[in-house]
Symmetry: C2
Subunit: 128 residues, 2 copies
DNA sequence: ATAAACCTTAACCTTAACTCTAAGTCAATA
DNA sequence: TATTGACTTAGAGTTAAGGTTAAGGTTTAT
């Protein structure tokens, strides 16, 4: 019935430390505990963690994620707000990706330039 | 005859502090100075800064950039190595972008889900 | 010539996101 | 029963990439 912190750690690729840290920082709440205080994560908790990782992996800060989580805790009344946050975040990430692509192009140019220089150097060079 | 740190700061959108910091960290070298010790950047320096920013903006750490810069300082013999680094970096960034897109899809699903919930809530809800 | 607006270095401060340590509890095993 | 080992907490340490402050030198405008 439920998962230990170690099991969750293995499934999420987050260390046990990080899981406790996230909890302390308010990204996870209402994690069940045994009588002796040991965390016991539910399927729902795993679901949440999935969303949190997803937001984190797209560059949302823990602080922003926390805000989102707090809204979620307030229930259905904040659905619209949460939706808005996600939509904004999506836009940001898309813009970010575009920027990255633009920078990548420059890197590509540099690669071409270096490749050319390298070939010339090898042709004209004395050491074969 | 060259640019002051402020002029470079304006052109690159890096603060004067950051320019000095980069120099101290070994990302820039051989920056000319006036007799009184004031930095005087050349066009070449600006060119370099352009590449550095490009690498930084695609997520390369200053440490890695420094390694790249050090290779450059060694001259033509490291052209191949540098080329390799850039190509690897490009691959990484492309992979990163793909990952981001995958995560974005999940976010999109969540948005759909929330939107649906919101609509249902509003239809079934008592307040209008 | 004196203040404003630059420049310099050195050193400490900040923030995010961990990461580790110390000291202790608890359950299972030898 | 003693010890191993996973769990707990509070809190300090780390890293990257800067930011800020202090204390002072230089140049230019009035």
């Amino acid at each position: 019935m439920g998962y230990t912190i170690k099991q969750v750690s293995e499934r999420t690729n987050l260390s046990a430390h990080v899981l406790r840290y996230y909890e302390k920082e308010g990204l996870l709440f209402n994690i069940n505990r045994s009588k002796s205080g040991i965390r016991c994560y539910t399927e729902d908790d795993l679901e949440w963690l999935g969303l949190i990782c997803c937001l984190k992996n797209t560059g949302m800060s823990l602080k922003q994620i926390k805000e989102f989580v707090e809204l979620s805790a307030e229930g259905r009344d904040t659905l619209k707000q949460r939706c808005h946050i996600l939509i904004e975040h999506k836009k940001n990430v898309e813009a970010q990706i575009q920027e990255m692509n633009k920078h990548l192009e420059k890197v590509s140019h540099k690669i071409d330039y270096y490749t050319k220089q390298y070939n010339e150097y090898n042709h004209g060079g004395s050491k074969q």
